[in-house]
Amino acid sequence: MLMTVMPLTALGLALGFLLGGAERLLRVPRDELEEELLKMLPGSQCGQCGYIGCAGAAQALAKGEAPLTLCPPGGRAVAQALAERLGVEMNLADMPDDVPRVAQVLEHLCIGCTRCFKVCPTDAVMGAAKQLHQVFGDACTACGKCQAICPTEAIQLTPVAPSLLTWGWERPLATREV
């Protein structure tokens, strides 16, 4: 028993250390700015910015090739964070400041075509062919891909109703204009 477990454990440990060492030895110096920007983006790889995933978007942002407002799911909050990190003065007043939204299936319109959950980058839509689909609110990033592909307009992005945990005072009117 021990003679079977030990060699395999040893092999696994040896390979693990080997990989760890190789990781240090072969580390590619990555752009720190790029890494930080990547952390600010939603990370759902929805591709609405036109780049291949959030990593591609972060790369373009770091090079200054993309507008800071490129991320539709991130909305104004992400654009603001990006502007602060990159030290750019931006007037974000005309960017819609949406409350958090979540996709919702209108049950009387859904035909169960399964198109929406095939495009969902976060696997937030659940269902089967010719069955009503359902959205997991916790996983939904409101990227809107399902809304765009739905043939019967059965998916809506609805604002998340404030709960006791998320409710806060409205900001004073004077501070809302930037």
Binding site: M3, T4, P7, L8, L11, G12, L15, L18, L19, A22, E23, L26, R27, V28
Partner: protein, 193 residues
């Protein structure tokens, strides 16, 4: 010397890994719609499979066989292959970022390529020597690359051909793969193998 050449020929053509042994069919159907990506996948697999054949032989003969643990082969080989794929990814990223851009998405896929596990398993159970195991791996991956590129070329032409609606897309590709396999059966007996 001629033995080794014959071995290469035999593994690449006569006992082709995809069309005769039916291993590695998922990349064969999945990554064969364009010649470029088929070639990239083939080259990445060649690299990993050759290394995996060598490493698995070493582990089999230096560790598993002396301890009488041959029944752990699959587990140990999978561990080695997964490590190799990770290592290859790091190495390629460091050495050639251009190649990493091309191969990037295909590299992790190789972990689940059954040919990469199958070849070392077969050569381990046949108790081959190191050179034979290495050439077996290399020859098989050459055959893999050859068939991938051939099939990708066929599919690129098929995409333009006026196929009946019933057969359009994957069905005609499967029919084509079957015909290609029949064609490769013609290699049986080549060089007295």
């Amino acid at each position: 010397m001629s033995d080794y050449l014959l071995l290469l020929l035999s593994t690449a053509l006569v006992n082709n890994v995809i069309l005769v042994k039916f291993l590695g069919l998922c990349p064969f159907m999945g990554v064969s719609s364009k010649i470029d990506s088929a070639l990239g996948m083939g080259m990445a697999t060649t690299f990993v499979l050759t290394l995996a054949a060598a490493c698995c032989w070493l582990v089999e003969n230096l560790m598993l066989a002396p301890l009488g643990l041959q029944f752990l082969r699959i587990l140990a080989f999978i561990l080695i292959i997964a490590t190799l794929v990770q290592f290859t990814e790091m190495l390629v990223r460091k050495v050639s970022p251009g190649l990493y851009q091309v191969l990037g998405i295909y590299l992790p896929l190789i972990t689940t390529n059954c040919a990469v596990l199958g070849i070392p398993l077969v050569s381990a159970s046949s108790k081959a020597g190191f050179a034979v195991a290495l050439l077996d791996g290399f020859g098989s991956s050459l055959g893999f690359t050859l068939v991938m590129v051939l099939f990708a070329g066929l599919r690129e032409r098929l995409a333009l051909a006026d196929t009946p609606a019933l057969f359009r897309g994957s069905p005609i590709a499967f029919v084509c793969a079957g015909l290609l396999a029949v064609a490769f059966m013609g290699f049986a007996g080549l060089g007295g193998l």
